[in-house]
Structure formats: C-alpha cells, structure tokens
Amino acid sequence: MILQTENLEQSFPVSGGRRVQVLNGVSISVNAGETLGVVGESGSGKTTLGRAVMRLSEPTGGRVFFEGRDVTHANSAHLRRILRRRAAMVFQNPSTSLNPFLKLVDALTEPLAVHRIGSRSERRQQAYDMLERVGLDRAQAERYPQELSGGQRQRVGVARALMLNPALVVADEPTASLDVSVQAQVVNLFQDLQRDLGLAYLFISHDLALVSHLSHRIAVMYLGRVVEIGPAAEVFDRPKHPYTVVLSSMRRPAGEQLTPGGDPPSLLSPPTGCAFHPRCPIARPVCSTTAPELTALAETKGHEVACHFPGDLELSGGLETAVAPPPPIPLEAVR
C-alpha cells in the first residue's frame, strides 16, 4: 500500500474566528501501480485531499500513511526523507506550474538538486532523458516555458514530477485546462508512464468519464466526504449513490440527464444528516436527520456507499456499451 488515509480531516480558519471543515473523515487507499480516481464538483474537497496527502497542509484530524509510515504530523526534515522524495504532484494549469524565469532544464533538475542527487552533468542528462520520455525534444531543454504550448508545458510538468522516480503521483485536474485533443495525449502519457514505471496515481478530476477511463478504482466526493468508492467500472456503470448516478448520467443525451436541484451547499453551514439530501431526487425524512455511514455492498467486493437507500436511484440500462470507455491497464500488467 503506497498511500492510506484514515478519517482524514482538514479545516481552515475563516474570518470571524470560525473554521470551515473541508475534509470530514476521508479514508482512502492507493496501492502500488494503481490509479485511484477522485471525482466531485468544485468545493467537494478533492483538491484539499490531494494537498493534504502531499502534506502541503497539516491535517487537523485523522492520519495519513505513506508507504506504511505515518506522515500526518511529520516535520519538514522528516518529510524530506519520506514523502518529498517519493511523491510528486502534477497541476491543473500549465501556465502557472512552471516558473517563467527558469529554463526547462533548470526546472527539471531542481528536484534532483534539492535532494543532492548526482552531479550537475548527470542531473542534466537525466532531465534530457525525461524530456524524451514524455515526448519532447531534448533540444527544447534550453527553452523557457512561455515558448511552449499548453500541452507541451503539461508534459514538462509531468516530467518534473517524475524526476525523483516517485511511487505516487498526485494529479490535480491535469487535463482540465487543455484542449480536448491535447487532453487525450496527456491521458495516454499518464497511462504509458504507469505501465512503464509502475506509478500509483491519485487522479483528481471533476470529469467522471475521464476518471473512469484511467482509474482502477474511483472515490466520489461530496462536501468533504467520500460518498461512494469502488472499482471503476462498478461505480461508473452501476452507481449506487444518487450523487454518482447524477454524475454518471451526464454522458447521456441531454434529455436523459439528471440534474440535481440547487447549488452545492456551503461548507460553512453544511446540511444536517446526509449532506446531499437537499438536492437528492430520492431523499426521505431519515436523510435529513441521520448521516449515512460508508457501508460495503454485499454484491461487489470493495464497493462502498454512504447512502440510506443505495441503488434506489438507477441509471436506466442500455447505453453503457455505446459510451463505455476502454478499461484501464490491469493491475497485474502494471506490476
């Protein structure tokens, strides 16, 4: 197991001395060579989850284990030896993820220089190799990021994340700001790298179809909680939580889409009971009083749902085959 969180909580102070609870008991795990997709709308806490497991913020509750070691409250020197050396991040916006004042080769050798790996020339050589690995020309190493296209910059962002040969890559919406054609290239790059290097991904996105395309398992987040988690095909094709059903219906023709009423609730005043009940098409009185726990389903192993009435709202069948994405790389092949 590369990464595991136990009841992870993260809150931040807001004006007026109050705190906003962004993560509310999130328990996920990522195995070696596995992709865990995290989906949810904005404000669901998926980005905060990524930042918390990378220890860019200190969790306010629960625990984070990286490669078996508790890093929840590790200090920076300790983190440098474990998490910083073995985990990296890819960002959404390629325009802000590269320093405009650094040549690509300098941006790429930086992680190695921080950890004092190799000599200067060895580091440069590794940077050239990595550029070629992500499909860029080594001649571009002396360029500045502004001279590259968005897709090329994102490749450099991926290359930088791989420089330390990490076990885990946290990808926070890495394709959201790219053109559709470039998106596909970057997604393929992610898959190729996973096959070749055995990387584990925590892949964060709002796009359920994209996530199901390259994930082995999917966690669906709503208002700081995981509401459904399970094998990608299960969650995508046979969603049990009404919120996942809503998300999953988005790939259907406009007339068959389910749209939840209203806006996502405020994190400052979360609804009582199940957080989704004000927008849920099948909400009943119990939903507004009692929060459902994440419970394993009998029929599929590893499929858990936090709903009082799992499976009551279903996708009408028949369309899965038409739009079903190709399956992700099997875990055995990765290892």
């Binding site: 990378m54 860019l56 920076s76 983190l79 440098r80 910083r84 050396r85 985990a87 990296a88 991040m89 960002f91 959404q92 916006n93 390629p94 325009s95 802000t96 993820s97 590269l98 320093n99 405009p100 004042f101 650094l102 941006a107 930086e110 992680p111 921080v114 950890h115 001649a139 002396e142 360029r143 500045y144 502004q146 968005g150 962002g157 930088r160 994340a161 330390l164 700001s177």
Partner: protein, 302 residues
C-alpha cells in the same frame, strides 16, 4: 535573417540581457545610461586628470569668477577660501556617488529580504513588518535624522547606516504583494512538494519575479540618496570637514551666494546631472521591464 532552416535553434538571450538591450534601445534609457557612464568615468578618473588640489587654499584669490567670465579662478572660479571649485566638484562627486550607490544598494538588499519575508510569512511576520513600515512612513526622515544626529553625533558613515536601514520600507512595500502573488503559484507548490526549503525557494523562484521593480527603485533611490546626503550635509549633519561632498560644497558656498554664485551653481549642476542620470536610467529600465515577456499577455493565464 539567418533562420533559413525552420528547426534551427534560435539564439537565446537571457532575460537580463533582453532588458538591458531594450533599455538601451529607448531614448530615455540610452540618455540615462550615457550620462551615468560619464558620471562614473569622471568619478573614477577625473581626480587623476585635474591638476589643481581641491583642498589647497589661496586666500589671495578668494571668490574669483570663472575664467570665461573674465576672472582668474579657472574653469569654475574659486570659493570663499580660494579653493578651485572645478577640482572640488570633481573630487566631491566621488563621495556623493559612493554614498548614493552604497546606501541605495544596502537598503535595496534589506528591503528585498524583508519584503520577501513579509510576502511569504503572512501570518505573523508579514503584518508586523507592514505595520512597522506604516509607522515609519508617517515619520519624516529629517526629524529622525536630526534626532539621531543629536544622539550619535554627525558623520557620513553613521548617516549612511541610518539611511540604509530607513530605506527598506519603499522596497518592501512595493514587492510584498507580488511576492504574495508569486507564492500562490503552482510552481512554488511544486518546489515545496520536492522538499525545497523556504530560503532557497524565495531566492530561486520568487526573487527573479520581483527583481524588476527593485532595480528600478534602486536607480531612482540612488539619486534621491545623493540629494538627501547633500541636504543633510548642507545642514551640517552629514559629511564633516575635511571630507567634502557636493552637499557640503553647497553648504559652504551659500553664505557667499551674492559674492560667488558659481560656487553654488557648479556643485548644484553636478547634482542635477547625477540625479537626472539615475532617474532617466530608472525610467528606461522600468519601460524595458514592463514590455519584456514577463508581463506580456498570456491567453492561457486566465
């Protein structure tokens, strides 16, 4: 052009060289740079070429008008003690210039460091530093300078230390928002996920992004510092005899203004020249920086 093959690598220019070239290309920047170069050359080599001693007194020839006014006082006349004003201006220029550049550089470095700290550490150090800067902005320097001189005694070295420390606020206040902005960029987060320490992060990633305004401020403040030194020396708080700067020359000569106006006009014009040189260079640099690729419109940056 030489770019016959489309794939041929383009010759890459570093950002600094790009800015320097574009400063030189503008009329303002070029004038400023030429004036600065002349000033520096005169300061370095001038005293070797002027044969008359700047301190030799000739009480038989006091307040002699310049030769081009029919007097016998040399190029710029003599002052109340019969010293050669031209020679004194060339020598006095050295101290003024050294003072201006030294104090401006020291306060720029200090202001940059504190500005980086204030923008990076926004929980405690940042607000405290900015409130301190507010307080300091409310106090006129002359009052503080007078008070400190009364306590510590006058002297050019003390004055320069006080001014160097006093000058941090302008730099820090100018860069603090940019620092905070840059610190929110993803490449800073990326560097943190690789385990880069705060000092290295600020020096390597943040400083280049805020160096532009610091350099512009530095050039203008070098001119301002020379003026401040002059005005404080004029009040007798700065340079003490037998040292002399352009400011003390002005101070000495004001008493004889009616008898020997040239002894005031000469150092005054040199001051005007220096400050103008610094300001023009600063203007040229600012234009060059704002038109260089850094702030250019990037359609991908929402």
């Amino acid at each position: 052009m030489s770019s016959s093959a489309p794939a041929a690598p383009v010759a890459r220019r570093s950002r600094a060289r790009q800015v320097a070239a574009s400063t030189w290309a503008s009329a303002t920047g070029r004038t400023g740079l030429v004036m600065l170069a002349i000033t520096l050359l005169v300061a370095v080599f001038g005293p070797l070429l002027v044969s008359t001693s700047p301190t030799a007194q000739n009480l038989m020839a006091t307040n002699q008008p310049p030769s081009w006014l029919g007097g016998s006082g040399g190029l710029m006349g003599t002052d109340a003690l019969g010293r050669d004003v031209f020679s004194r201006a060339v020598h006095g220029l050295r101290l003024s210039l050294l003072f201006g550049l030294g104090v401006a550089t020291a306060s720029a470095v200090l202001g940059l460091a504190l500005g980086l700290l204030a923008g990076y550490e926004q929980r405690f150090a940042g607000p405290v530093l900015l409130r301190l800067a507010d307080i300091q902005f409310a106090l006129p320097f002359v009052v503080v300078g007078l008070a400190l001189t009364a306590v510590m005694g006058p002297g050019i070295l003390k004055l320069s230390i006080v001014l160097a420390i006093w000058g941090w606020t302008v730099y820090a206040r100018t860069i603090v928002t940019s620092v905070a902005q840059v610190c929110r960029m993803d490449y800073i987060t990326a560097a943190r996920t690789h385990g880069m320490g705060a000092t290295r992060l600020l020096l390597r990633h943040v400083t280049p992004n805020v160096l532009g305004p610091v350099v512009v401020l530095w050039t203008t403040s070098a001119g301002v510092m020379i003026l401040v030194e002059s005005s404080l020396s004029l009040l007798g708080l700065g340079t003490q005899p037998p040292s002399f700067s352009l400011g003390t020359m002005l101070g000495d000569a004001t008493t004889q203004l009616r008898l020997a106006w040239w002894a005031v006009v000469a150092p005054g014009s040199v001051l005007l020249w220096i400050v103008l040189a610094f300001n023009l260079t600063g203007d040229g640099l600012r234009d060059a920086l704002s038109s260089s690729g850094r702030i250019e419109h990037d359609p991908e940056l929402v």
